[in-house]
Symmetry: C2
């Protein structure tokens, strides 16, 4: 973050006043051919303009019209493993960054890589979700929006998040489990089917479908790019007008 | 967060131009008594000033002098339970807020109240510290500084934090364990001594003293207010010049 020092503000202000006053003096001199009067007019103008500019700023400071509040929001991507959460969330994040709003990307994988043994049991996942909700809430306190992607298979933890964060937009990426298995470039479904992974959502643990998702996308028929543009449109309509 | 709409910027700009041009016309008219020439001079001035102002802004945009970068920092309070971490950290946070830098307060108690069963074993605490480090790092990505207070008794987790966050300032609040016991308004030392609390730092678990703390304060002899002002002075000297 950069901040202007007081010295810079003052020097910049003086620099502009010199340019402005010189221009006025030259114009008046060209019109009337009297340098002494032109300089006098220029100097009086300088004093008046400084005072008037200050007053003008003060008045506008009190006018609230045309100031729009940007409320931080949270895009919450949920869905089966390999349903396309990270891919689509990445695309959406990239588009939203262009709107010059403070925004942060939070992905399940990044955090699980960083923090060992978070666990996949119901209790572990619920605790994990509370921590993520706390992270999002802290960012929102500082006007930062979030694009978060987590399998988040349980209704209770998605509910906890909705209660803790503002402007929560649940994006449910619907995908047939057979499609996800076909997309299995990570080989995780195969492992889960062989019984090598416990609590794998959709195989040996439930995925409880969201019932109040703001956006539902069928990734069997909608492409990642189409999905992203649909989500960005929603955000622009409701939060970044 | 508020943002100015384009319409507001334009209307405000026009409003100022009207004030400025009218002033020029009045001054010129008073000096020379010719209203037609005064208006002509005023209009020419308006066009010129708009162009010049734009150029002036463009040039200043390229001048980096006088822009100071505010680097986010992390004040990390460590010490035995009841050594005064939260009290002093709260005071420091209140003072730093006055400097108008984006800053967030993170306290052990708040998070442990929110997220159940974080645990107190070495493994639990280390995992907890990694999550806090991730939280601080994410805030720092967004230029937000932090004031964090955690017992954080193990060297390894304090080291992990130092590796993950920028501008880490460890504040070690030294306190004789007997002093802490006397301050025991929460009754936690009593409980720990009765064996009702496991892994209680200083009683039935170690507190490994920091060896590289940037600031060490002996809370047996230094008051909370003195401690806070000493820490604020350090931050102002190194990070918010």
């Amino acid at each position: 973050m950069f901040r202007e020092t007081n010295t810079r503000s003052i020097v910049k202000g003086i620099s502009w006043r010199v340019v402005a006053t010189t221009t006025t003096i030259i114009i008046v001199y060209i019109f009337f051919g009297r340098l002494d009067l032109a300089i006098a007019a220029g100097l009086i103008e300088t004093v008046l303009k400084v005072v008037l500019y200050w007053g003008h700023e003060k008045i506008w400071h009190k006018i609230h019209w045309g100031k729009k509040k940007i409320e931080p929001f949270n895009l919450w991507f949920t869905g089966l493993p390999l349903s396309g959460k990270s891919t689509i969330a990445d695309k959406v994040y990239k588009e939203l960054e262009k709107l010059h709003i403070p925004i942060e990307r939070i992905d399940s994988k990044d955090i699980r890589e960083l923090v060992p043994n978070i666990g996949y049991s119901r209790e572990d996942r619920n605790r994990h979700m509370l921590r993520i909700a706390h992270l999002i809430k802290t960012l929102q306190n500082n006007s930062i929006s979030t694009v978060a992607s987590f399998v988040s298979p349980y209704r209770e933890s998605r509910k906890a998040i909705r209660e803790m964060v503002k402007n929560n937009i649940v994006v449910y990426l619907k995908a047939d489990i057979e499609t996800c298995k076909r997309r299995d470039y990570k080989g995780v479904y195969e492992k889960a089917l062989r019984g090598e992974l416990e609590n794998f959502s959709g195989i040996n643990d439930v995925y409880e479908e969201p019932q109040h998702a703001e956006i539902v996308i069928d990734t069997d028929t909608v492409s990642a790019d189409e999905a992203a543009s649909q989500i960005v449109k929603y955000v622009r309509k409701h939060y970044v007008k």
